[in-house]
Amino acid sequence: MAEKEEVKLLGIWASPFNRRIEMALKLKGIPYDYVEEKLLDKSPLLLELNPIHKKVPVLVHNGKTILESLVILEYIDEAWPHNPILSQDPYERSKARFFAKLIDEQIFDAGFVSMARADEKGREAFVEKTRELIMHLEKELVGKDFFGGKSVGFLDFVAGSMIPFCLERGWEGMGLEVITEEKFPEFKRWVKNMEKIEIVKECIPPREKHIEHMNFMVQRVRSA
């Protein structure tokens, strides 16, 4: 068949933005070279490939650079159309994109502040705010095994990498239960479904190490 496909992914082990890319690559069975970056000591390669944002993930496909995790996910789906992660239906696609944006912008911000604010009252307020936002996702999951319907897809990777396998670990490290079974039964059910998926299990940071890392990051911000 065609020439050799060369796929390289620059990332940081704890980054949810990275992990979701790995889930997509694994789902499509795409082999790739992974390059671990250091948050506080970015490589010349990273700075050359992403001069504007200087962030991971960076995907390099046959010498072409793609940046921004949501853009990368859509690129992967289009460059390798088998095992699609997004619906073909424009309306369903628009909903997936909408919730992905909600997760990466508002939920990520509120979630992080709920851990990193120095004052307890401030943190509590942001915990509440995060809960309100996640309630929108709760409603989306009614009657579905995954956000993608019967199988995992784009929004499962975005939400999964960010919430149960990142933010929740941070909250756990603080002794907080933000997402309760009582208020978020659909969400809890979805997490259980996600935990059974091989590629998800393979692509999430190791739990204990991750909790420790989140604690470290949060303390760093709190004491700044």
Partner: protein, 219 residues
Amino acid sequence: MANEVILLDFWPSMFGMRTRIALREKGVEFEYREEDLRNKSPLLLQMNPVHKKIPVLIHNGKSVNESIIQVQYIDEVWSHKNPLLPSDPYLKAQARFWADFIDKKMYDAQRKVWATKGEEQEAGKKEFIEILKTLETELGDKPYFAGDDFGYVDIALIGYYTWFPAYEKYGNFSIESECPKLIAWAKKCLERETVAKSLPDPEKVIGFVSELRKRFGLE
């Protein structure tokens, strides 16, 4: 099947302008409804319960929210004419990256230019010009961001152009002297009927910004 398209919008919104342009590029008939943002309609609140913001695109009763998502939706539904995004996945990814850059950087920076004063305003002006220069570099010598064809990134950015005279007035600087190529690009975009019809008169925008500044106690 009949297509019923309603756009809930607010005339000076650089976000609403994107959706107006996209609909017109595709020749889609739509009903434009002006929202009073201090008295939002029940329909707006029902159709965008998460953010309660405009623009809201309602297509056959179903809502699509967030302007950049609306532009992609419009491109995918009415795919038979005037593609707004390139078909090549890599070029598409480039276009999405730059629209995302505009969304991440422009709004907050431009706001500092007209809604603050003193040191904060000076810092805002500097940041704003840097962002425009980055975009100008990306544009290069091409007629439009994607090359020969007007599309996604042009649509994402052009609405801000109607606010430029307001930025210049209240920021006391000239954008054209800093970014002449970008101004030339904007004027070229405005030669398109779909754009000209979708953008308000910049003089009206200055009036609107003046009112906001009074409300914020800046004049």
